[in-house]
């Protein structure tokens, strides 16, 4: 009886929908409806206290002439296009170090991952202290090596670099994923290459890089999305993140990211129509870059032997 019922397609559909119902409701309430509403808001003049009034594409047109919009977009793309490759490079190098014969694997991994579980607000304050021009350890170490000792958080040339440093402190997650990927590369490939007398570098280029390239593609997309949305790190590093329209986020607005400017428009200046239009531009920028990465993947991602 029960087997008969379970093969009945109406009952199967009911069970499937019933088990999936939390997400089905969630999708309607937290995704489908808000996406439509956001599209509508982006075409309106709208604040918390005033009903939406249709203005056509005026919000999008206003962006073209908004210097802060361009500044925030530029900063965000700068963080993304510098941060993601550096993150990948550090992670891959670090994963190689951890993949050598070392005792206490669990401990090494925990130490590498530790910064990623420090709350971002705490990490932001910590790095404000470390980057302090006079009393901070970063400049102290720079002094040992005779390097420049900039006023990190007050000099517009270094504000962006400070944000990157804070974000790159948490590369541990990416590194651990690479470590798992390295352990999956068949050992006999390396043994064969070693017999052929291939150098470490050749083995990396010919074996490791192609074998981990699907993971690299995954990591680039995940990191890229995270960098394009960065909010809390620059918000905490910049001392008073633009509580008024005039005040800068970081020296010379060097820490003004897209998400911060969007947040300011929505919740400080109450220009919710404009902020919604910005959100849609962010969606299209994200889509465009993702498609670009996926398109380029055909040239460098290796799916053979899997």
């Amino acid at each position: 009886m029960s087997t008969f019922r379970s093969q009945h397609s109406g009952w199967a559909l009911f069970k499937g929908l019933a088990f999936a119902s939390p997400f089905l409701i969630g999708f309607g309430v937290l995704y489908a409806w808000p996406i439509l509403a956001s599209g509508w808001y982006s075409l309106t003049d709208f604040s918390l206290f005033k009903a939406p009034r249709f203005v056509g594409l005026a919000n999008y047109e206003r962006m073209l002439a908004d210097d802060k919009f361009w500044k925030s977009l530029y900063n965000t793309l700068y963080f993304t296009f510098v941060g993601v490759p550096v993150d990948i490079a550090i992670s891959l190098a670090g994963a190689h170090i951890l993949n050598m014969k070392l005792r206490g694997q669990a401990l090494w991994r925990a130490l590498i991952y530790l910064p990623s579980i420090v709350p971002v607000v705490a990490a932001g304050f910590l790095w404000r202290w470390l980057l302090n021009a006079q009393y901070g350890f970063v400049n102290e170490i720079a002094r040992w090596f005779g390097l420049a000792q900039p006023n990190w958080l007050a000099d517009s040339a270094w504000g962006g670099v400070s944000v990157l440093i804070l974000m790159l402190w948490t590369v541990g997650g990416t590194m651990l994923i690479y470590l798992a990927a390295l352990k999956d590369v068949p050992v006999d490939l390396y043994e064969a290459a070693e017999l052929d007398g291939a150098s470490h570098w050749r083995r990396f280029i010919d074996i490791t890089w192609p074998m981990v390239s699907p993971v690299t593609l995954f990591q680039i997309i995940v990191l890229m999305i995270a960098f394009l949305q960065v909010f809390t790190q620059p918000f905490v590093l910049s001392k008073d993140p633009g509580l008024t329209a005039q005040s800068a986020v970081g020296p010379g607005d060097s820490m003004l990211t897209y998400s911060i400017y969007l947040f300011q428009n929505a919740f400080m200046f109450l220009k919710m129509g404009y902020a919604s239009a910005m959100a849609w531009v962010l969606l299209f920028v994200t889509l465009a870059i993702t498609l670009l990465v996926l398109w380029s993947a055909k040239k460098w991602v290796f799916y053979g032997n899997r």
Partner: protein, 283 residues
């Protein structure tokens, strides 16, 4: 056998071992050193904190900053607020996400693939797009300044955890489930008594992630919570200790106390957790 080999290491082996551990220790130091500064600053007397050049090790140790931090802002209240939100979010995630994951991994029904693709698509969507309408919704329901907007989403299934658990459930053999059904177990029995226990690593990973994310979340409490009695630690720390004239000792002490619970959860779950981070990406 192994001990014999260890006693007869060649010079080359010793050099390679020193090189390996040297590199690993150097790298670990780069990651951990900033955290150690947080600790030592929290325990340094105020007079020692501002020394140029800075000194790493405190000459004397003090607990005064921990006391100061707790009197400058309602630390325990914010701690319990944050704990309440985090625990309820974990409960929501553990109730909802595995249900959906089971439906997508082990039940056969028309439309299943469409729902799975929808889950993947929502993972890619920038939260900024839905932020304002969702805010307007909670505001319209009078739920701003409550924890409802921070907790309810977890009870509706989080796409990332649905995906992670679904990938894990795919590896459970169908024969196991079929056999239980032959014995007359209902779908719910199969799910509750057979699938969930096997899925433990994926569930622990999701729970740890959810806890740490909610514990450390900044943007959502910033948007929804205006009443300073209802603040979470993130917002409380930011507005009380981070504003004008930062006192670094108490601030770092508060940061230590803020970080500690996340570390404890991480250590408790780490056996599953680190494997889970990698498994989610590789599958």
């Amino acid at each position: 056998m192994a001990t014999v080999e260890r006693h007869h290491m060649s010079i080359g082996q010793i050099i390679s071992q020193v090189w390996r551990y040297g590199l690993a220790i150097f790298m670990a130091l780069v990651f951990v050193f900033p955290f150690l500064i947080m600790l030592t600053t929290a325990f340094k007397p105020s007079g020692e904190i501002f020394s140029a050049p800075p000194e790493f090790w405190p000459r004397s140790w003090t607990l005064e900053h921990f006391g100061t931090a707790m009197t400058q802002f309602p630390f325990w209240r914010y701690l319990s607020n944050t704990l309440l939100i985090s625990v309820l979010s974990v409960v929501g995630t553990l109730l909802a996400s595995p249900l959906v994951a089971y439906s997508l991994a082990k039940l056969r029904w028309p439309g299943r693939n469409l729902v799975f693709i929808t889950v993947l698509a929502t993972m890619m969507l920038p939260p900024q797009v839905t932020l304002i309408p969702i805010y307007m919704m909670w505001n319209g329901l009078g739920a701003t300044n409550t924890y409802i907007p921070l907790i309810v989403p977890a009870f509706l299934g989080t796409p990332f955890f649905i995906f992670l658990i679904r990938q894990f459930l795919m590896s459970i053999p169908n024969e196991l489930i079929e056999a239980a059904k032959m014995d007359g177990a209902s779908e719910w029995r199969v799910y509750w008594d057979i699938v969930l226990p096997i899925a433990r690593p994926a569930l622990v990973t999701s729970a740890v992630f959810q806890f740490v994310w909610t514990w450390t979340d900044f943007l959502n409490p910033l948007i929804y919570i205006n009443d300073d009695k209802a603040y979470t630690l993130s917002i409380g720390l930011y507005s009380f200790l981070g504003s004008h004239g930062v006192q670094w000792g108490p601030l770092m002490a508060a940061c230590v106390l803020f970080t500690l619970p996340a570390i404890v959860i991480f250590i408790l779950g780490q056996r599953y957790f680190i494997g889970g981070v990698a498994a989610g990406a590789l599958k």
